[in-house]
Amino acid sequence: MAHEDRAFYDQLADRGVTRRDFLKFCGSVAAMLGLSEAMVPTVASAVEAAAASTLTPAVWLDGGLCTGCTESTAQGTTPDVAQIVLDILSMNYMETIMYATGDSAEAALKDTVEKFKGKFIMVYEGAVMTGFDGNALRVAGKPGLDQIREVAPNAAAIIAVGSCAVDGGWVKANPNPAGGMGIQEFLKQEKIETPVINLPTCPVNPEWIVAMVVDVLFLGKLASGQILKELDEFNRPKVIFGQTIHDNCPRRGHFENGEFVYEFGSPEEAKGYCLYAVGCKGPQTYTNCPIVRWNDKASWCVESGSPCIGCGDFNWVDQNAPFLNRFRQIGIGDYKQTGGYVPGNVAALAGGVVAGALVVHGLGMKAAGRIGEGPATEDMKDYDRKRMKKGGDK
């Protein structure tokens, strides 16, 4: 072991972290990034090198938000939020947890932008609020848009966390009462060319933020430009948003068997059958939730018995509602997503098993309870029909 290594592991030991713990962490980072076991030592040395250097400056700006993405980030454990903001980044501005307040907080932001021009990371949470001449959100006595205009052009890169930052999220849902917008679209309007990395879902999963931190800081992918090559056409990291939930779902076997939950609280639900029939948007939603799961891998939506509502989709609230209705057509395999809109010809591409499942479960329906655009959903489920035949509710 080299001399530097010893110092690094001594430091870890002081903090109660064993070398074994550390390598385990590097292993999970490597797995997150889709790297093989053989890459673990490379990740480890990248982390060590980063630890030896000074902290990278970062600022976290709050737009039209619910604070859920900050909250979600605080639920991560490897690293936890304290390690992120004390050991990895110097988070010089982050409204929800920073010590300073008011003018002192704004001064910390200004100092960072001036001192680290072109070198700091900007994280953006919440929708960009353009409504009421930008007064739907006021920060420090001015429209919140001014803060973006002052900070964004000077950042090395912008990480948009959560669906609101990516494309306006629920805030932009019809009728978009406050002029919500994603940060990338706003920057385009403003002709600000700082690169944006989009991390959708509502809220963002902290595992994905950590993956970006590792990419940018430890593996040097921002400096090398590599990170931008690893994004899809919507600026999402392919490694995270390249496959559907359906692709990796532990309930997929039941889908293949045609075993579905038709009603919550039913015996089928107790058996953990597929939730597609109660509206699961897993087949259309491109995230790796089934792999990374949520809250330190405690669970995730489908595991807890809920259908996916597609919060990682673009324009998800208009696109995927009513959430408990099945989509008429489902996408399987490697089709192109067009800003979250499922193309009409997907059913034609779907394989025999899927097409079979669709036919078996009879899907002749129309859009209902939706506002704005989206693919067709059914308006009534089989079990409803049966109950109505029996003279049930009406």
Binding site: L55, L65, C66, T67, G68, E71, S72, Q75, T77, D80, A82, L86, L89, S90, N92, E95, T96, I97, M98, Y99, A100, T101, G102, S104, A105, A107, A108, A127, M129, G131, F132, D133, A136, L137, R138, V139, W170, N174, N176, P177, A178, P203, F264, G265, E269, A270, N295, A298, S299, C301, V302, G305, S306, I309, V317, A321, F323, L324, N325, G369
Partner: protein
């Protein structure tokens, strides 16, 4: 010419966006204006959607208390549809809600509020051996105090203070007689609390899929079905959190509070308190909740029953159309109109709700006072113990203050922690007894209903009207609307505004006391 007002904008370490403006004279706050500086329009977004979708969307109004919003929304839908949830679903919801209370209160005290009472810079001066001795004497848990101090020293040596950048170190409003060792204990527990709030939210994730924003308490019951391997995950996590609350959070509160006894004498405000009650018993009745409903008015410590029909919202000083004013939320409307920021005219995106015409404080202080006055046993016990430690035995009225509000939230945490264990055991007993129903199907067509509930930060109501199977109107009155709402049409100040008036402001450049009071509401 008068001196310019003291302004805090943005107020940090809260959930959302808020501005505080104060008129200060001779070191005392004479007048105050509180502005909610963000409008998103959730109520408009929900109109026209399927009633079952409201649960998923409405909870996204708040990333810190989505569980309470989800429950209030679902309850309004259930009331509108006339569906009664099975007993098992009631117990499951109580446990999820309790886990969120634990999460939120721990996060508030340590991550958001503690830096207002503990100067982290002082922790560098602490003697390590003395810190262990002090922790033992205070009856609180010990940590690796050396490592924590080294971490802080490392930040300072590195030249970048990260989240501590530009903080109000050495502020004269910090208790000058607080030993640096207590500051180091505070910083160490600040870091440990991050793990504990995450542990509480893992309970929500197991039962609800994830946190923030959960997936299972949909109208009719819960989509989560308890199984053996999940029940132990929940029980033992809650036991761990309860132990932290009892062995660390409560002793820390009792160790720090005596240094801020002056905060018993200001920050109380109007002295009106409102709670809709939270945590249902088998009857599902609002009048029969573990944490009871009630309204308390200034001048007399007695409780009246709380009635949602007594609410009206006013907009003379808010950026909404006049037609939105003077309405009960059941008939409420939302038509934003931007003018300009002017404290003499319109200055906030929050409506001003009133109860029988009076501004009412929402939050743990309201709940704990109502419960104390109604004789709820675990509440009486822990409040009386605390009053004794503060030299105010038999004087619950001292709780109507800044320090009382801080203490009430932490004491409530201990009460809810104990109840959460009780409810897991209740769930186990129900399963043993064959109570395995968790969902009741329903068909929305027409109707209207309200979900009156409590978020960790206070009284919450959702109102839903359904026509032709779609939401025809939706209104929300959040606890922060009660607390941060500004002046009403009669010019009467809002809750935080009034709490600020009369409080000290010893350094107008760094208005620490004002920030403390505003944060004590966890807005």
């Amino acid at each position: 010419m008068a001196t310019p007002n003291v302004v805090i904008d943005p107020l940090t370490r809260i959930e959302g966006h808020m501005r505080v403006e104060c008129e200060v004279e001779n070191g005392v706050i004479k007048d105050a204006w509180v502005s909610g500086t963000l409008f998103r329009g959730m109520e408009q977004v929900l109109k026209g959607r399927a009633p079952s979708d409201a649960f998923y969307v409405a909870q996204r109004i708040c990333g810190v208390c989505p569980i309470s919003h989800g429950h209030a929304s679902t309850m309004s839908a259930e009331a509108a549809m006339g569906v009664t949830i099975p007993n098992g679903a009631r117990i499951v919801r109580n446990i999820i809600e309790a886990a969120q209370f634990l999460h939120s209160h721990i996060l508030w005290f340590y991550t958001l509020a503690a830096l207002d009472y503990i100067d982290p810079g002082k922790a560098l001066e602490a003697n390590i051996a003395d810190t262990y001795a002090l922790a033992q004497a205070a009856g609180t848990t010990t940590s690796n105090f050396k490592a924590v101090q080294d971490k802080l020293a490392g930040l300072v040596a590195g030249g970048q203070l990260s989240i501590f950048s530009n903080g109000w170190f050495n502020h004269p409003a910090y208790a000058q007689d607080m030993p640096p060792e207590l500051a180091l204990i505070g910083v160490a527990h600040y870091l440990e609390a991050l793990e504990m709030q995450a542990e509480a939210s893992r309970v929500i994730a197991i039962m609800g899929g994830k946190f923030p924003h959960f997936m299972t308490s949909l109208p009719g019951g819960t989509a989560w079905v308890p199984t053996e391997e999940k029940i132990d995950d929940i029980l033992f996590r809650l036991l761990k959190v309860r132990d932290f609350v009892n062995n660390t959070m409560i002793p820390d509160t009792l160790a720090i509070a005596p240094f801020y006894k002056d905060a018993l004498s200001y920050g109380g405000g109007h002295g009106n308190f409102l709670s809709w009650g939270v945590f249902n018993r088998e009857s599902l009745e609002m009048k029969d909740r573990y944490m009871p409903e009630g309204a308390v008015f200034a001048g007399a410590l007695k409780v009246e029953s709380a009635n949602p029909d007594s609410i009206k919202e006013y907009v003379k000083h808010s950026w909404f159309a006049d037609s939105d004013g003077d309405k009960n939320p059941a008939q409420g409307s939302t038509n934003p109109v931007w003018t300009d920021y002017d404290v003499n005219n319109k200055y906030t995106w929050a409506k001003a709700p009133r109860y029988d015409g009076k501004p009412m404080e929402a939050g743990p202080l309201s709940r704990m006072l109502v419960a104390y006055l109604k004789g709820v046993e675990p509440v009486k016990k822990i409040v009386d113990l605390t009053l004794g430690k503060l030299g105010a035995a038999g004087k619950p009225e001292v709780l109507v203050s800044l320090l009382g509000r801080v203490a009430a939230r932490n004491l409530e945490t201990a009460v809810v922690a104990e109840w959460s264990i009780e409810w897991v055991n209740e769930l186990i007993a129900a399963l043993k007894g064959g109570d395995v129903k968790f969902f009741e199907a329903s068909e929305p067509s027409k109707g209207s209903g309200a979900g009156m509930w409590e978020a960790p930060r206070g009284a919450l109501g959702h109102w839903m009207s359904i026509e032709d199977g779609r939401i025809s109107n939706y209104q929300i009155c959040t606890p922060s609307t009660w607390n941060i709402g500004g002046r009403d049409d009669q010019g009467v100040t809002g809750v935080i505004e009034q709490a600020l008036i009369g409080a000290p402001c010893i350094d107008p450049e760094r208005p620490m006391e004002a920030a403390r009071i505003a944060r004590s509401f966890d807005p």
